[in-house]
């Protein structure tokens, strides 16, 4: 009996070890090429479709099967464009299969890091380089993109011909680090404007507001008619406070100087100028924003606005395509957030460099990845991308031939990189050390602007003092 027990024990142990060590079946056949050669796709003449061009094919195309792994963040019009572009790229390069993964924007940096670490991605979507430590900042943590480059995980693209397709200031500001180019940036976006519903404005006889008082009066008119004044995708958190960034801009037009002033103590979040901003933010959060906005997901907000139920939508230019897709006949316009009672202060658009492309330094598919970016950067394809996504172009020859392009055209000379791209918090700063309208009820706990202003400055000062 004892021997039998021992035998059974050893058999169980052996089977466990074998199970643990087992891998893929040894007889697994290598991937076979497709039986039929795919037909090269005809270039579509449609405006938002990528076009076939004379970009050289990848050398691997003649040699071996390649699966090119591409990572992008969720942005429905962009993803839709990329799917079409990928099909056409594959048709031109039949032995390259593009495996594109889409992740939520909030998860992009985490997934990028994980997949770069695992050598599991070739081309990554990377936002324009921002939040770099400035000389007046002490004891701050470098931004994620800088760490990726310092760790040698992104490829140097400096000598690639397609880099020349983009304007030099963009390459310098949004893709260069230590004099080397690591990313090509695909477009700028403004996040400080308001979409307005032309039909509702006409129905209630409301003029497009150019000052803060006019904006308040407009909302009062809509409220009196039981029409929600403004919406935002508050479920994602950031759309509520990003929607009010134009308000900050109308009060502090030079946002680089604002950030430096906050660090040096020349500007305080509870001084008289800032207090005006907080008072207006309270009105924005409590009187302008529609009840229930906190439940609307970021990518559902354009649909909510396009349904015609709401008079205005404080959001970035990247939403324009989604609004048009949701309701093509919907009449809308886009204006800078009128945060000041002086119309001259409301002529600025604030924003950031948005999506870009970078290549994993350790990719085994370097040539295919380069061919992919070269194909994408071809002026015709880039123009189609801009038309589809609505970015303010970063290639000199491209134009934003869409409605949002026409809407922002008068303000493009006044386009400025916004606060969020400059700000780096000192270590030790509290959780309220930001100019966020979402701190006010009903999204947050504060009701008194002075109390909130004092709290925000206290949280910031705590970090500044801790680093002395």
């Amino acid at each position: 009996m004892r021997k039998l027990s021992l035998l059974i024990s050893l058999l169980v142990l052996a089977s466990l070890l074998l199970a643990a060590c087992g891998g893929a079946p040894a007889t697994q056949a290598p991937a076979e090429p497709a039986a039929a050669e795919p037909e090269p796709a005809e270039p579509e003449p449609a405006e938002a479709e990528p076009t076939a061009t004379a970009v050289p094919e990848a050398p691997e195309a003649e040699e071996q099967e390649v699966t090119l792994k591409v990572l992008v963040h969720q942005n429905p019009p962009m993803v839709e464009f990329m799917e079409t572009f990928n099909e056409q790229f594959q048709a031109k390069n039949p032995n390259i299969t593009v495996d594109m993964s889409v992740v939520n924007a909030n998860d992009l940096s985490t997934v990028t890091q994980t997949r770069l670490n695992a050598n599991d991605v070739d081309v990554v979507d990377i936002f324009g380089f921002a939040n770099a430590a400035q000389p007046y900042m002490q004891n701050v943590v470098p931004p994620n993109w800088q760490t990726l480059i310092d760790a040698g995980l992104l490829m140097d693209l400096s000598d690639q011909p397609f880099v020349e397709n983009y304007d030099a200031p963009t390459i310098q500001d949004a893709g260069t680090y230590n004099d080397k180019v690591y990313a090509i940036n695909l477009g700028r976006v403004s996040y400080s404007g308001i979409y307005y519903n032309k039909d509702l404005f006409a129905e209630y006889g409301v003029e497009v507001p150019t000052t803060w008082s006019e904006l308040v009066a407009a909302c009062e008119t809509f409220a009196a008619a039981d029409a929600p004044c403004m919406t935002a995708g508050g479920k994602d958190g950031w759309p509520i406070f990003v929607g009010a960034y134009g308000l900050i801009g109308s009060i502090y037009p030079d946002q680089a100087a604002l950030v430096e002033g906050l660090w040096t103590g020349d500007i305080k979040w509870n001084d008289a100028t800032s207090l005006e901003m907080w008072e207006k933010m309270k009105v924005y959060a409590q009187e302008m924003m529609e009840a229930g906005a906190s439940g609307i997901a970021g990518d559902a907000a354009p649909g909510r606005f396009a349904s015609g139920a709401v008079a205005m939508f404080s959001g970035g230019t990247w939403y324009a395509s989604a609004i048009e897709a949701a309701e093509p006949d919907f009449e809308w316009g886009y204006i800078p957030f009128p945060g000041s009672d002086n119309p001259e202060d409301n002529q600025y658009l604030f924003g950031k460099y948005d999506q870009g492309w970078a290549i994993a330094a350790n990719t085994p598919n370097k040539d295919a990845a380069m061919a992919y970016l070269a194909e994408f950067s071809d002026p015709a394809n880039y123009q189609a991308f801009v038309n589809a996504v609505g970015f303010i172009p970063t290639q000199p020859g491209a134009t934003l031939d869409t409605q949002i392009g026409e809407e922002v055209a008068p303000y493009l000379e006044n386009f400025r990189v916004g606060y969020e791209q400059y700000w780096v918090a000192p270590k030790g700063a509290g959780q309220y050390a930001n100019p966020y309208a979402s701190y006010f009820q009903p999204f947050g706990t504060f009701d008194d602007p002075q109390e909130l202003a004092d709290k925000v400055q206290e949280d910031l000062q705590s970090g500044l003092d801790a680093n002395q």
């Binding site: 050893l10 985490t110 931004p143 994620n144 760490t147 439940g295 030790g428 959780q431 705590s462």
Partner: protein, 309 residues
């Protein structure tokens, strides 16, 4: 020793050999990463392969516990974690016991209700979060319509932090009450029917029967449930991520660790990864769980010894 199944001599090694694979995987999957976390907590590691990792001594702990308002916010998260733990444990334990007592009756259709109450357990945090996000949708969701009937409205998960926090607590209880119930049902089914019969013959009512028969004999299930509920709620973070994201006034320690380690604190896509700092926060959470878990375990074992002899 007479009942020792594996006999004497070399055969006595059999149980140890059988334990080896499990022990190996424990070392590989649990103990190894835990040890690595404690080492990382003394570094400025970012988690990015190839990035330099520097030894920073106790700097991460000093920053987490003492640097500026941020450290006081960390204590806020710590306090919130304890509130969450007490609230979830108390309510989940009580509800689980009541439901177990009800569905342990010999009634028609009782299996259906057991399945129904247990069902949320098999859903992942993402599905649980999606269900409740829809249920609590403030623009015409079911709960908003219910409130609307009595003239009230709420932003629910997007509202004031205390309210959002309370909703996450409710979802945590809903999601895990089924496990508590099942453990109690298992405990109830080990109690011999003769004891209830004897109590009834002695004239004990329902409450006296529960007090003197059911409750003492449920002690092992009570202990198991309490320890599982306490540890589970102290470590909770997924539902916070899925339901409300990183919002001031709602973070618990588990979510704070994730957010710090993976650059989720500011909403900015360029946020830095601070896995060394996150590891230090993990060690603080580990000691919190250890102290509370061991204290509870100590008192529960003493009680078990006293009750069951």
């Amino acid at each position: 020793m007479a009942n020792y199944h594996f006999g004497r001599g070399r055969a006595r090694w059999a149980p140890y050999i059988l334990l080896l694979p499990g022990f190996f995987f424990y070392l590989l999957i649990m103990f190894g990463p835990s040890l690595a976390t404690s080492v990382f907590s003394f570094t400025d590691a970012t988690g990015i392969r190839g990035a330099p990792v520097n030894w920073v001594g106790l700097d991460n702990y000093k920053e987490f516990l003492f640097l500026g308002q941020a450290s006081r916010d960390n204590y806020g998260a710590l306090f919130r974690t304890l509130i969450f733990c007490v609230g979830v444990t108390t309510i989940q334990f009580t509800l689980g016991l009541i439901v177990a007592l009800v569905v342990n009756q010999k009634l028609r259709g009782v299996n259906f209700f057991r399945t129904l109450y247990f069902m949320p357990v098999i859903l992942g945090a993402v599905i649980q979060g999606l269900i409740w996000s829809l249920f609590l949708y403030p623009l015409g969701g079911p709960m908003a319509q219910l409130l609307g009937m009595v003239g009230l409205r709420s932003e629910f998960l997007g509202g004031p932090p205390a309210e959002a926090f309370a909703w996450v607590m409710a979802v945590q209880i809903w999601a895990n009450m089924g496990i508590t119930m099942m453990i109690f049902i298992a405990g109830l089914q080990t109690i011999p029917g003769e004891l209830y019969e004897a109590a009834r013959i002695d004239g004990a009512g329902s409450w006296r029967t529960f007090q003197n028969v059911t409750w003492p004999l449920l002690t092992p299930a009570v202990n198991t449930n309490l320890v599982l509920n306490i540890i589970g709620s102290l470590q909770a973070w997924q539902l916070f991520l899925v339901l409300i994201g990183y919002r001031n006034g709602t973070q618990v320690l588990g979510y704070l660790i994730f957010a710090q380690a993976f650059g989720q604190t500011s909403g900015s896509v360029t946020s830095a990864f601070r896995q060394g700092y996150g590891a230090a926060a993990s060690i603080v959470l580990f000691f919190l769980v250890l102290v509370i878990g061991m204290s509870v375990q100590f008192f529960l074992q003493r009680r078990e010894g006293r009750v069951l002899g």
